[in-house]
């Protein structure tokens, strides 16, 4: 068990270091996200008050687009020089490889999200600092859901010919309930409502989604990797 966690830590560190040196998916995801944010202002020419009602939806559409770009690299990064085969053949347990990659993708996506958040607030004149603490909780929970499902499917599609096409086809339908919950919770928070009563329901949904899919992915990843 400790060996597994140490391996996961090593893999996460390796992935992060490679990514922060090359910035190949980080740059792509961040610039893509900002472009989408700009386009939204033309897609929805609304007054400031009306924007609050759709703020959560906009933000999570941008985040999920960026997320697909980031998780796509997860296992694909190991394809050159047959690194993936070596990883699988090594003593590292499958779940540790998966966990390491998921944590790395999670942190990378968080970086992109926290770059986008001020840009979003600036473009659309939305105050996001008031409920920052709760917002961070929602972002962390939903981002973990996106990356855990995304990394699992990045392992599923790593050997598929048209990988870049297939990952979004699988990922987006699967994370719909998560995105509904995240959009709902974010809109509530940005509109200045308290995260209490009925509003807590969306948070519960995020937690349930995270728990179920983390468990499923950790359990099934051995079947995915060792075929």
């Amino acid at each position: 068990m400790t060996h597994g966690f140490r391996t996961a830590y090593a893999i996460a560190r390796k992935d992060l270091r490679t990514e922060l040196r090359t910035k190949e998916s980080l740059n792509a995801a961040a610039s893509f996200a900002v472009v989408i944010l700009v386009l939204f202002s033309f897609a929805f020419p609304l007054e400031r008050d009306e924007f609050y009602a759709i703020s959560g939806g906009l933000l999570w559409l941008v985040y999920s687009f960026a997320g697909a770009l980031i998780v796509n690299r997860g296992f694909a990064r190991e394809l050159p020089n047959d690194c993936l085969d070596v990883l699988i053949a090594s003593r590292a347990p499958g779940w540790a490889i998966f966990l390491g990659k998921a944590v790395a993708a999670f942190l990378l996506l968080l970086i992109v999200e926290f770059i986008c958040l001020p840009v979003f607030g600036l473009f659309y004149n939305i105050r996001w600092t008031d409920s920052f603490g709760s917002l961070v909780l929602v972002i962390v929970l939903a981002t973990w859901g996106i990356t855990v499902v995304g990394t699992a499917f990045s392992a599923v599609t790593v050997n598929v010919r048209v990988r870049e096409l297939m990952l979004p086809v699988l990922l987006y339908p699967m994370i719909i309930p998560l995105l509904i919950g995240a959009m709902e919770a974010t809109t509530v928070l940005l509109s200045g409502e308290a995260m209490a009563g009925d509003n807590l329901y969306s948070l519960q949904l995020l937690v349930v989604f995270d728990v179920i899919y983390t468990a499923l992915a950790l359990y099934l990843i051995d079947y995915v990797l060792v075929v």
Partner: protein
């Protein structure tokens, strides 16, 4: 022999369906509130129930494939999912026609409609991704995993769209809440039986195609290896 049994099953289903359609259109009185359009219920609801049954079978066979690595389970899974997804489409289309007549709109983001659409989208992604994986063992394993993930998602979507602020203004009047008149029970049961028979025949047919395909593939590989 097996093929004959499959066709027999399908023919039987078609017969039940035709006789039931006759009962529905000729024998039954119009509904007091909905008029004649209510008859869609005898196709609409059985299509969903039979589809859910096949999705559940597909879940069980997916787990069995991962546990036992026997390709027959993979063939059953894909056969079930393909037929069930088609049945969900039947359910969505008939429901949409009913909605246009009763609500005045083809589609609304009602609880049931949304989950049903999500079910369709999730299993469509299974059917889209599957052919893209070339290696047989890999294809079967990945398909099984996608099928398990998809099945786990359906209750979550159900939960997600019940959030307090999500648009749910429309009632969900599909299927009278146990208040259906007794005269409609028999045609409803027959509708179930008809779609169950036709669905099973289609699943068996697809299963047959899958196993033949696998045999052809393995023969071809042997030929290339020789």
């Amino acid at each position: 022999m097996r093929e004959k049994a499959t066709y027999l099953l399908g023919a039987l289903g078609a017969l039940v369906m035709i006789s039931n359609l006759h009962t529905i259109f000729v024998g039954l009185p119009d509904d007091a509130l909905q008029g004649m359009i209510f008859r869609i219920i005898f196709i609409h609801v059985p299509a969903d129930l039979v589809a859910d049954l096949f999705f559940t079978i597909a879940l069980v066979t997916s787990v069995l494939f991962l546990a036992r690595k026997n390709f027959i389970y993979d063939s059953i899974t894909v056969a079930c999912i393909e037929v069930a997804t088609m049945l969900i489409l039947v359910n969505l289309v008939t429901g949409s026609i009913w909605g246009r007549n009763q609500w005045g709109v083809w589609w609304t983001w009602d609880l049931r409609l949304t989950t049903q659409l999500m079910k369709f989208v999730l299993y469509m992604s299974y059917l889209v991704v599957r052919p893209a994986i070339a290696e047989p063992t890999q294809k079967a394993t990945m398909s099984a995993i996608i099928a398990i993930f998809a099945y786990a998602d359906v209750p979550l979507v159900w939960m997600a769209i019940r959030l307090p602020n999500v648009r749910t203004n429309h009632p969900s009047p599909v299927m009278g809440n146990g208040k259906m008149a007794a005269v409609y029970n028999a045609p409803f049961g027959m509708g179930m039986l008809a779609l169950l028979l036709i669905g099973s025949a289609l699943v068996l047919l697809r299963l047959h195609q899958e196993t033949s395909q696998r045999e052809i593939d393995s023969l071809r590989r042997e030929l290339h290896a020789a």
